[in-house]
Amino acid sequence: MNILVCLKQILDPEIPARDFRIDPVKHEAERGAANLVTNIFCENALETALQFREHHGTGTITVLCYGAATAEDSLRKALAMKADNAALVLNDGNQNPDPLTVARVLAAAIRKLGAFDLIMVGREAGDWGAGQTGGLLAEELGLPCVSFVDRIESNGGKLRLNRQTDTGWELLETEVPVVVSVTNDEHNVPRIPKVRDVMMSYRQPLTQWGIGDLDVAADEVRAGNSYYEVAELSIPEKESRCEFVTGDTLDERVETLARRIVEVTRAL
């Protein structure tokens, strides 16, 4: 079973709020001193793929990214985690393309890379959180799609997927090929690559394409806003004064805490 995992490289989502700044003209966050990391849900997807291969034997894992040149680091890390092949489509246009643009580029790259049974994405990205890549990619490729998957097993030539719902989970069986978006779970915490593998990963080949190398409308892709566009970006002001309960003893403080809770809940 050949698997393809899409990755996105984003600004570290865990930088302290005080260090987070935006460019109101470009409508994006400022890089500042923050690092670039692979989106955690994409890593969950990759980890799921790696575990699937460990349990079910055969097939290759290819990782694909549409992004800036820095995205190569994300792909190298994926190779260090023991993905087999990596491909980067260099984005030299709008660095925050809309989800349909992304889906079209990924679909074109996937068609060019070959035939895959399982195409995986993270459920959403930690920066813009659109959560549409999986669904739109499935539509572009004409494939079925299952979202919020946290476990994948093989069943004959089919796949058994466990996916999370609001109130529990669902177990689905699907034919391949299929597009799956992956969510976090206690079992798909991404593995730490061995240092040796990290070093080796920089010596492995990496396919690199430009937008012009793919079968897409290049100008529209570079503009990246035919589906939707960010009109404004701001950091909302939110200041609230927290009352830290006081008291000479722990007992007194918890007494105050209890009173506050009752005030707020009984006021219903």
């Binding site: 669904g135 915490v189 918890v254």
Partner: protein, 320 residues
């Protein structure tokens, strides 16, 4: 035609999300000068349709069995092609989230999700949503029609009841079943009567809890005393201490309680994104600099292990 359509899955009934969705739809329809229609799918569609007809102009039910991803999408697509809505609004449940972009694609429109505001500016459909894990807010303009949008339904005020109830119709669709995917088994966990998103009081635990046992032994009794539902941060879910359905946050439940009691939760922005609509937030945390305190109404800087048992005693005394 060209109405605003709201789309609901019937299994949750006319809950706060459905009401908020109707309210959002009505205000949008008014600003466009069009009608508000509703599409209801799934078993129990008729019951929900009756409730909805009190606030929407027309309800179309689709007699579909339980949710199946491909079949539901096909049904909805066909129906929307017939109805040709200007905009389709959905709530923030998992089915709606996954169907939204695909529906938009099939209808040639644009989708966007997790919106806290939707409006039309002249011809342009605009939404507001949090981005960057809750650290920033964006206004997004949709370029194609129809706009297919899922919203944080419970944050919107409900719609006013109509003088005359809307009509209810059943759609006659001819959808060949899509057997590429099929559901084998479903599990629906319940947490007592209310669901987390409906809860008015939530007791939530984070990484600082340290393990699964304190959730059962310390936090659950506290929640029971308060009539609260239990929640958790992503860290606690990822550690396997609590089921993933308890996760509150950017990629978990968005909750709107009157009181959200955050215990041993740091308050990273991704978590705050799930409780931004909470009326009151309180926290128990050993770190006075934890970001959660910046969003709190009140809190205590102390080890929860010392506070929670004592708190239960105090609450019992006060509730007498």
């Amino acid at each position: 035609m060209n109405a605003v359509d709201i789309c609901l899955f019937a299994q949750a009934g006319f809950d706060k999300a459905a009401q908020g969705l109707a309210g959002a739809g009505r205000r949008l329809a008014n600003s466009l000068g069009t009608e508000l229609h509703a599409i209801v799918l799934g078993p129990g569609a008729h019951a929900l349709a009756s409730d909805l007809s009190l606030v929407v102009d027309k309800v179309v039910t689709v007699d579909q069995g339980e949710y199946e991803p491909e079949t539901c999408l096909s049904a909805l697509t066909q129906l929307c092609r017939e109805l040709s809505p200007r905009a389709v609004l959905l709530a923030n449940d998992t089915y709606s989230q996954e169907i939204t972009p695909r529906l938009a694609h099939r209808l040639g429109g644009s989708a966007v999700g997790d919106c806290v505001d939707v409006h039309v500016d002249g011809e342009t459909f605009e939404v507001t949503r949090q981005v960057y894990g809750g650290k920033a807010q964006a206004v997004i303009q949709l370029k194609r029609q129809p706009a297919v949008v899922w919203i944080r339904a419970r944050s919107f005020a409900p719609a006013n009841p109509l003088a005359v109830a809307g009509e209810i119709k059943q759609a006659a669709l001819d959808i060949p079943p899509d057997t590429r995917t099929r559901i084998i088994e479903r599990k629906r966990e319940t947490q007592g009567e209310a669901r987390l998103e409906e809860a008015r009081v939530i007791v939530s635990g984070g990484r600082g809890i340290g393990g699964p046992e304190p959730f059962d032994l310390e936090l659950k009794p506290l929640a029971d005393l308060l009539g609260a539902q239990m929640g958790a941060s992503r860290a606690a879910c990822d550690a396997g201490w609590v089921p993933p359905t308890w996760q509150v946050g950017q990629t978990g439940k968005k909750v709107t309680p009157d009181l959200y009691l955050a215990i041993a939760i740091t308050g990273a922005s991704q978590h705050m994104a799930g409780i931004s609509e909470a009326k009151n937030i309180a926290a128990i945390n050993t770190d006075p600099d934890a970001p959660i305190f910046k969003h709190c109404r009140f809190g205590i800087v102390e080890d929860y292990r010392k506070v929670v048992p004592l708190l239960r005693e105090k609450l019992v005394a006060l509730q007498k």
